[in-house]
């Protein structure tokens, strides 16, 4: 168990000490929630606060999963660090487990901070079972984005990764209905949205806090499951290709 423990510890600490990562993924959604969720709740009632709690928590979870995994793997592959690890007797699974565990730890951090803010300042009242359900849905919803992170990490170069991840992440967030409610988005975006994993993640969390939804929760769960399989399978192929030696 020792290598797994140290691998997770090092992965988490190394990201936590990188302000470029921890601030942009954890602090940004919290800051937005403070601006919109809390202040709007005072004017327009707690339904906004609830929707923003669900949406911005999902935003934070997606950001920590995607960035934390895609950017680190691309850099570790591209600059040779992964080769040193592969040459060592590190259990190969430890590397993957540490990436996922670290993403889940950061997600937990996002969820705890967000819940505290919503409960203390956002005027949000949820039944304990709904708090729990929301937390579980947020953590489980991290998995397809971890898989996407692995896929991008294994196909992108170290210098292009941050740019490309942004190029995928920002439009995905725009179409998800989290930043801008779906009914205010252009017609074609609304039609296109169900093809995007972030949309289903948002719909699922909205359904738990009782915000209006367009897609039934069971459909969103199935879609997220399918995305996890597709991204995970593609990531596995990319990993196989590298393992059997195209590298260098």
């Amino acid at each position: 168990m020792k290598p797994y423990f140290y691998e997770i510890k090092c992965e988490f600490l190394s990201l936590l000490r990188m302000p470029r990562y921890s601030v942009s993924t954890v602090v940004l959604p919290l800051l937005f929630y403070a601006c919109f969720g809390i202040s709007l709740a005072k004017k327009a009632g707690s339904s906004f606060s609830l929707m923003y709690l669900a949406g911005y928590s999902a935003w934070g979870v997606m950001a920590v999963s995607l960035w934390g995994i895609a950017a680190t793997i691309a850099s570790e592959r591209g600059f040779g660090w992964l080769q040193v690890k592969r040459a060592s007797p590190m259990p190969p699974l430890a590397y993957f487990i540490a990436k996922v565990a670290s993403a889940l730890l950061f997600s937990t951090l996002v969820i705890v901070c967000m819940f505290l803010m919503a409960g203390l300042f956002g005027g949000v009242h949820l039944a304990p079972s709904n708090w729990l359900l929301l937390a579980v849905a947020l953590l489980a919803g991290a998995i397809p984005f971890c898989a996407l992170g692995f896929l991008l990490g294994y196909v992108l170069g170290p210098t292009s990764a941050p740019g490309v991840v942004n190029l995928i992440f920002l439009p995905m967030m725009f179409c998800s209905g989290i930043w801008i409610p779906l009914q205010y988005l252009p017609e074609f975006v609304q039609r296109f949205a169900p093809a995007i994993p972030a949309y289903h993640f948002a719909q699922l969390t909205f359904s738990i806090v009782g915000s209006p939804i367009k897609t039934a929760p069971i459909v969103s769960i199935e879609a997220l499951f399918a995305f996890a399989l597709i991204f995970g399978g593609a990531a596995w192929l990319a990993w196989r290709r590298e393992e059997t030696d195209v590298f260098g």
């Binding site: 290598p3 850099s75 570790e76 040779g80 007797p89 590190m90 260098g248």
Partner: protein, 300 residues
């Protein structure tokens, strides 16, 4: 006993043949240096031995096993040429992580002592100098108490002082027993550490031998002439490494052709057909010593 070997290995990258039917073996207790210019195939040989790639032909064995097996990896420590290392982790955290991969790691204090990292344990990697960084990578290679240490160009980007200090670290590791395979493009480095040198050039073995043999061959010139001098007397001249008489002329290998020729001419006014040329290995070593900072005279 052989701890690691390449047997008739061929490895291609696309149209480029990186290794062409090469056999190399590291014996227990030995320090073997792979010497050669960039592109000679050194790093390819290392990647095969540490299980990062597969040969197109031939066989690679480490402690009698396929180097991809975890049991083989547990007995090998590796230091590679790297672009970037997780910068925010501290030296101690790096060492603890890599120690956790091995069944019988060295105590941390011992790793720190051998790698010369005392006082730097809490320093983040980003705050280290170039020489200190290399010593951390060296620490990660030895922390698992390996029986074989593989060092790929361990001092390539270092100044003379850091280079010498890292050589000291390697010697401290050797004092505990164990074998080392290192690659370098400095003859001086191979000479300082190794007891056997294999010279690679364009994917083939250009020469192999002890550092003394390689150095004398590297420096030698071939002198050919027709002379009345007896072979035995020529051999006694200083700087002459070998003399061969053939069909009326003699062929002399010497590290200092000028003084040998001067002595020959002084002693034999009838000497004729004088010809001086670089030895066959010369070309390989010219390529090796292209780095201006390391002129051949200094090395030899």
């Amino acid at each position: 006993m052989i701890v690691a070997e390449l047997r008739n290995v061929t490895k291609r990258y696309g149209p480029v043949t990186a290794l062409d039917n090469v056999s190399i073996s590291v014996k227990r207790g030995q320090v073997l240096a792979l010497l050669g210019p960039n592109g000679a195939g050194k790093t390819t040989a290392v990647r095969l031995l540490i299980g990062l790639s597969y040969p197109h032909a031939g066989d690679v064995r480490v402690f009698g096993r396929d180097p991809h097996e975890i049991e083989a990896r547990r007995r090998v420590g590796v230091m590679l040429q790297l672009g970037r290392v997780p910068e925010t982790l501290r030296v101690r955290e790096h060492i603890q992580l890599f120690s956790s991969y091995y069944p019988n790691p060295m105590p941390e204090s011992e790793v720190v002592a051998i790698a010369g990292l005392q006082g730097l344990e809490r320093r983040p990697f980003s705050k280290l100098s170039g020489g200190q960084r290399q010593r951390v990578l060296f620490a990660l290679a030895i922390c698992g108490n390996p029986d074989l240490l593989v060092l790929d160009e361990p001092t390539a980007s270092l100044d003379v002082e850091s280079r010498r200090s890292l050589w000291g670290n390697v010697r401290s590791f050797l004092a505990r027993g164990g074998s080392v395979l290192l690659t370098t493009h400095y003859l001086e480095e191979a000479d300082a550490l190794a007891n056997e040198i294999v010279v690679l050039s364009k994917g083939r073995i250009a020469a192999c031998g002890t550092p003394f043999e390689i150095k004398s061959r590297a420096a030698a010139r071939r002198i050919r002439c027709t002379t009345a001098w007896p072979v035995g007397e020529i051999e006694a001249l200083s700087g002459v490494t070998s003399v061969r008489a053939e069909a009326g002329s003699v062929e002399i290998m010497a590290a200092n052709p000028e003084s040998v020729v001067r002595a020959l001419l002084n002693g034999d006014p009838s000497l004729s057909n004088l010809e001086i040329s670089g030895a066959a290995l010369e070309d390989a070593f010219l390529a090796l010593t292209e780095t201006p900072a390391q002129p051949l005279e200094v090395i030899a």
